[in-house]
């Protein structure tokens, strides 16, 4: 087992365990923290796949901005573990079973997929580099890029309008 393999497995285990803790935690703040752990693990996977740009962007945008926003809102509402409303026990079990069923279905579906033995390139590959990604972004995909700025504008306006106190 090379270093790559060990890293892959470690990161995977961390990701899954943290995800489970997100769902299971009683306190919302703990859930946020565990989610940040997940993001770190996924960024680790990105780096392993040599998608450097995305790894950094993931950390900055997701872990840095979005999760901070979540924390703001949670602290604004002063949510604790004791004010947490609990769902009906049966519904919780039903939810878990549904998720499990989905997992089984996916696994069953993809088990015999043709691309079983295709390899995802690890460690190498240039496409993840900022230079190449940037060129592709500004040449082939420049229109979606510009339109996403309009998207941000509308999101900002929407957030302000919704949040107004009238």
């Amino acid at each position: 087992m090379g270093v790559t393999q060990i890293l892959f497995w470690v990161l995977s285990v961390v990701a899954i365990l943290s995800a489970i803790m997100v769902v299971v935690s009683k306190s919302p703040i703990h859930s946020v923290l565990w989610l940040i752990m997940v993001f770190f693990a996924i960024s680790g996977h990105y780096i392993l796949l040599n998608a450097q740009f995305l790894a950094i962007v993931n950390l900055i945008v997701y872990a840095g901005a979005i999760m901070v926003l979540f924390l703001f809102v949670i602290m604004l509402m002063n949510l604790n573990a004791d004010t947490e409303p609990q769902k009906n026990k049966w519904l919780k079990i039903a939810g878990v079973i549904a998720g499990g069923a989905l997992l089984l279905v996916f696994v069953g579906a993809l088990k015999n997929a043709d691309l079983k033995n295709q390899i995802a390139q690890v460690n190498n590959g240039d496409i993840g580099l900022i230079h190449n990604l940037g060129i592709a972004l500004f040449t082939d995909y420049v229109i979606p890029f510009e339109i996403s700025s309009v998207l941000f504008l509308s999101a900002m306006v929407g957030a302000v309008v919704i949040g107004k106190k009238d």
């Binding site: 769902k87 989905l102 579906a109």
Partner: protein, 631 residues
């Protein structure tokens, strides 16, 4: 001329349509003219056809109008058959029918215009159906007419429909007719199965080769139909109740024409019956029993029309006796004479009822002074029905009795006793109603007068026919080859005659039989005349008389055996089957759907979490189906 035979039923049909559709707009006189005129036109055409049939070498003419049923091997054309038997009946129906139509214009004068027209349209429809019956060239066309007269009988008995008793009588008549019709239908189907056809020509040609059991079955079933239509035991109880209809209706339908349909049918199928001796015996026995039985009931009836009704049943029994012993001509002869004198008697009774508005003979009496024409014609009718020579009834009744004696002397004896009773009750009726003192109210006496000419002229014409009608059938004892009717009808009955010739009796034997019957009838007549003119039976019947007056409780018997079980069955089906099962099923479906939708509605809880759960489950199921399909 025979080719134009379709005109004969066509005129009454048009009369029915015109009077029926425009009943609110026509005046009474116009309605009467149309109603009577159509029948008169039919009578004239029938006369012309009759003169053609009298010529030598006349062959049966079959006029086909159109194909009625054409299915693979079964061909039933709508055709009319003109031969001696049908033309004779045609004359009787249209002739007597015309007289009764004229009579009705005066008798029904009190009705409102719309109902007056309704009456005449029904009457025309009846004539139309009866003509179809006798003109049909195959059993199916005959059956169409058969059903049609049953329908018209229902319509006319229940003419005054506002009275529930009359409606019930009409229903009773129709239902009993229907029971007989079932027998007729089964015979029809059996015939199609055996011969592949119902045309008279084909069936009668193939008849001699058929197995006896099959023939016996078919003829017995046809006879069942005849018992319903012609009021024989066991399906006779409707006829006395049918007196609820207007008197001209009773005269036409229940004396002269419809009830003779059974006789016509058997006379037409004479070859079938001759080949099935068992059925003939059955016919004769039932006819004789009915004649005797009905005569006993008539002895104690006090309603003028009921006496005549039971008398009709009894005389029909005589006709069936004639058919049963092979005297086909005699039976048809009696049909003719009976049409004359029974119509006469009924119309006379109607004249009395119209004058007095009363039907109980105990409340009449001494009408001889007040209504001379009615009285005299009624008396002639009584002579005819009692069988006193030289009136018509004597010739026809004696022909039947002689043939009965030849078959079995017991038939003759029972027939003789019945003739005695016939003379007795008829003259009891005559004496109680017309002789002695008037027993009605002074109010009635004040208004009592002879009926108008529209009533009396048909009475006179029928009386003449009742007197001379017998001379169409003078038997051989009096004059050789003078039996005009026998000669006329011989082509129809010749095959039967060849197979089973009516036994020729010696002249002396025949004269003896005739003398015995005349003597017996005279005794009955004189005794009744004498007794009842002096001392009419005014009280209620006593002792055995109550059984007779209550018609031997036959109606009550039928009620208990048949009507109540059927009603109970119907009630059972209604309560259990209809209410619990069928309704339960239908309502249950409704309730189930309501319950289901109530439950389904709970799904819409408004909770987003539940919706997402359902979404995920749906996706899972879709995936699973995909995988399975791909395999």
């Amino acid at each position: 001329m025979s080719k134009l035979v379709y005109l004969v039923p066509l005129f009454p049909l048009m009369g029915f349509l015109i009077n029926g559709l425009f009943r609110k707009n026509l005046s009474k006189s116009l309605t009467g003219i149309i109603g009577c005129g159509t029948v008169l036109a039919s009578f004239i055409v029938s006369l012309l056809i009759f003169s053609e049939t009298r010529k030598e070498g006349f062959e049966t003419v079959v006029v086909k109008l159109f194909d009625f049923i054409n299915a693979d091997k079964l061909h039933i054309p709508f055709s009319f058959q003109v031969d001696q038997l049908s033309i004779l009946f045609l004359l009787i129906i249209t002739g007597v029918g015309f007289l009764i139509h004229v009579y009705s214009t005066s008798y029904m004068q009190d009705e409102e215009g719309e109902h007056f027209a309704r009456y005449f349209s029904y009457l025309n429809l009846f004539i139309f159906s009866m003509l179809i019956l006798v003109l049909g060239a195959n059993y199916v066309i005959m059956f169409i007419g058969w059903e049609g007269v049953g329908l018209c009988s229902y319509l006319l008995i229940g003419y005054w429909f506002k009275n529930i008793d009359y409606d019930n009588a009409a229903k009773k008549a129709f239902v009993m007719n229907r029971i007989g019709d079932l027998g007729f239908l089964i015979a029809l189907f059996w015939m199609i199965n055996t011969y592949g056809s119902v045309n008279f020509a084909e069936v009668f040609a193939k008849a001699p080769g058929t197995a006896i059991p099959i023939l016996t079955g078919i003829t017995l079933l046809l006879f069942v139909g005849a018992t319903g239509k012609s009021a024989q035991i066991p399906l006779y109880t409707w006829l006395p109740d049918a007196m609820a209809g207007p008197t001209p209706v009773s005269a036409l339908i229940h004396a002269a024409t419809m009830v003779t349909a059974g006789i016509y049918m058997i006379a037409r199928s004479n070859i079938l019956y001759t080949l099935a001796p068992i059925t003939q015996t059955v016919v004769a026995v039932i006819g004789l029993a009915t004649a005797f039985f009905a005569a006993t009931i008539a002895l104690k009836q006090n309603d003028i029309k009921k006496v005549l009704a039971y008398s009709t049943v009894s005389q029909l029994g005589y006709m069936f006796l004639g058919l049963g012993v092979g005297a086909y001509t005699g039976a048809v002869f009696h049909v003719m004479t009976h049409a004359f004198f029974k119509a006469l008697l009924f119309l006379g009774a109607g004249s009395v009822i119209h004058a007095l508005h009363e039907q109980d003979i105990r409340k009449m009496g001494g009408l001889k002074k007040f209504m001379p024409v009615t009285h005299f014609t009624f008396l002639l009718g009584c002579f005819a029905i009692a069988g006193i020579p030289p009136f018509s009834g004597f010739f026809s009744k004696d022909e039947i009795l002689a043939a009965a004696y030849a078959k079995n002397p017991i038939y003759f004896v029972v027939g003789l006793i019945t003739a005695l009773m016939t003379a007795f009750y008829m003259f009891r009726l005559y004496a109680t109603a017309f002789l002695g003192n008037f027993r009605g109210t002074s109010e009635q006496q004040h208004h009592l007068h002879e009926s108008p000419s529209a009533i009396t002229i048909p009475l006179i014409i029928l009386a003449i026919l009742a007197v001379v009608g017998g001379f169409a059938g003078i038997p051989d004892v009096f004059a050789k080859n003078a039996h005009l009717l026998h000669h006329f009808l011989s082509p129809v009955f010749e095959k039967s005659e060849r197979l089973k010739p009516v036994i020729e009796q010696s002249n002396s034997l025949e004269l003896t039989l005739m003398a015995v019957s005349v003597f017996v009838e005279l005794i009955g007549m004189l005794y009744a005349w004498n007794r009842f003119s002096k001392d009419p039976e005014l009280g209620e019947p006593q002792g055995f008389g109550t059984v007779l007056a209550n018609k031997w409780y036959v109606d009550e018997l039928y009620d208990t055996i048949i009507v109540r079980p059927i009603n109970a069955l119907g009630k059972f089906f209604n309560d259990v089957f209809e209410k619990s099962i069928v309704d339960g099923l239908v309502n249950g479906i409704g309730r189930t759907i309501q319950y289901g939708s109530r439950q389904l509605r709970l799904l819409q809880s408004g909770q987003v979490g539940a919706y997402v759960l359902m979404m995920v489950l749906g996706i899972v199921i879709l995936f699973v189906i995909q995988i399975i399909l791909k395999k």
